[in-house]
């Protein structure tokens, strides 16, 4: 149940990172959203044996991390959730796909090993791209970008309200968990006799809280719609960034840059 305290500090950390300033932070959120989605789609679309083609996609996150000053360590810490499942799925590949695809010196490398590696790299790269988006864009800005792409107002409001109260709820659950731990020193989790009441109590209290919130809204004239400020309009640099980044991704996808460099480095084509 220490996950709860970790969750609180992880949220705070992402918040703090998004509040920093750098050239990347100041780019329009919709531009960053488009670039991130394009990157993810194109990265995932590499064929499973195209390891050399895929590797060059590493450059985008590395460059952005560099410019924005976001710590890579935090990003890698989040890999702990994604990688296990990806590895579990990919780990079977070498067993089923044993035909050798290439050889490094005298060692034959099977297709299964290659596809396992590409899968893990894809997992890592996509996570880095998402992380960059959230670490350089505040929640308000992300929601503003979503409103721009015509996401229903109800969802955006729900997202913002939920986000507002997540830290409150994490605190409540954490306090409850601490109270429990102090009176059940040997236990690692909630005993089944308390399964219902632990979260049930909090649930009932939360319903009361929601009622109070609603009263507060009504008393201040709420009639169904929340009104938000529009994010500042896109500047030329935002368009430039989008076009340039997406263009580069397409280039990397179409041409195997790594092989190109290698070919040039080795002096002449193979």
């Amino acid at each position: 149940m220490d996950r709860i305290d970790h969750a609180a500090s992880e949220l705070r950390e992402m918040d703090d990172l998004a509040a920093l300033s750098s050239p990347i932070h100041s780019i329009h959120p919709l531009a960053k959203l488009i670039v991130t989605i394009s990157y993810i789609i194109l990265t995932v679309s590499f064929s499973k044996y195209d390891l050399s083609g895929l590797i060059v996609m590493l450059l985008y996150p590395v460059i952005i991390f560099s410019i924005s000053g976001i710590p890579i360590k935090t990003c890698f810490y989040k890999l702990r959730i994604v990688l296990p499942l990806v590895c579990a799925v990919g780990l079977f590949n070498p067993f089923f796909d044993k035909a050798p695809l290439m050889s490094i010196g005298s060692i034959a490398v099977s297709g299964g090993v290659i596809s396992m590696i590409t899968l893990m790299l894809k997992g890592m790269f996509c996570l880095m791209a998402s992380f960059i988006l959230v670490a350089t864009t505040t929640m308000d800005a992300i929601c503003a970008a979503l409103r721009k792409i015509r996401m229903p107002g109800m969802i955006v409001t729900l997202l913002l309200l939920t986000y507002r109260y997540i830290s409150v709820m994490i605190d409540e659950v954490s306090v409850m968990a601490t109270a429990y731990k102090l009176r059940a020193p040997g236990q690692k989790g909630v005993h089944y006799s308390a399964w219902g009441s632990f979260l049930g109590q909090l649930l009932l209290r939360s319903m009361d809280r929601a009622e109070e919130m609603y009263s507060s809204m009504q008393l201040r004239g709420f009639s169904g719609e929340f009104q938000y400020a529009d994010v500042s309009p896109a500047k030329p640099k935002d368009y430039l960034y989008t076009v340039f980044a997406v263009g580069i991704f397409f280039l990397f996808r179409m041409i195997n840059i790594a092989t190109l460099f290698g070919g040039i480095a080795l002096g002449g084509s193979l």
């Binding site: 995932v44 679309s45 064929s47 089923f96 959230v134 994490i170 005993h191 219902g196 909090l202 480095a265």
Partner: protein, 352 residues
Amino acid sequence: MHMADALLSPPVATVMYAASAAATGISVHKLKKDENTQKLPTMAVAAALVFAGQMINYTIPGTGSSGHLSGGMLLSALLGPQAGFLSMVVILAIQSLFFADGGLMALGANCWNMAFYGCFVGYYLIWQPIMRGRLFPKMEAKAAARTKIIMASVIGCIVTLQTGAFSVVVETSLSGITELPFGAFCALMQPIHLAIGLVEGLITTAILIFVFEARPELLQEVNAKTGGHKGKLTLKKTLVALAVLVVMVGGALSLFASSNPDGLEWALFGNTEAGYNENMALDEEDYGIESGLSEKAASVQEKTAFLPDYSFADSESAAGTAVSGIVGSAIVAVAAAGISVLGRFFRKKKQA
């Protein structure tokens, strides 16, 4: 069950996004029509609480392990299917954005696998019919309601997690990500999620019973008159629908299995007669199991090919240019490292 981006191909991810978007649109439309503006703070607070509550360990007696709550059935029993669905979507979005639990491209699939089944299938096919059904007529009303809640929660969680896990297998297989044969993948996923579903069902039951004892008006359908007066789906109809579903899925699976009779055996022990080369050729198109499903999947992918005019690097050229690929990759890696060092250098300079 949160899927990472790497486990999906763009076409599959897009289809799942479309499906989830449709469900979202329908939910928003229904909630707007209801004009119950009070639902919004309730949904937000419930979503935030379930999010926090997912991190609690519920120790399972007898074993050394613990179970967790994911909350689809819980939210729909409290808020109704549409509001529950939207709350789950928001939870999944926040998990994906801030905790890297599930990818951004995979969000559509995750919403479908966890929120849609949990809230719509779980509510309309299981919760509502059971709660409205004329069950346990000999029991006292409150005891009957309690038993119905237990039944609906446990069955609901098991069914929704099974369908969710199955969808993960289907989506991953259709995306061509794993070499694991369909049958073997199912054999891995389904039993595990049966256990997980059972535990989650029991946890959900405990919470819902607690709420029922304290404030029954908070639960959907609990005070509805039994006999299913206006219910679109009575219990009988639901059982029939479920039976049909089981037959259809079972039929599809057996069709698949029949075109590859030793699918699971092969997966586990290797088809020693044919030898691996028979089953796995170097040519990417022909590797793996010949089966109706994989052919269909291949043709689906061809038809929805992302960039049809560009040939994706196939295995032949990969093998042929392996060496320059390795050298080039090394160059890229060095360049990446160099960029990081430079970046750190310039930032330090800026601060100085």
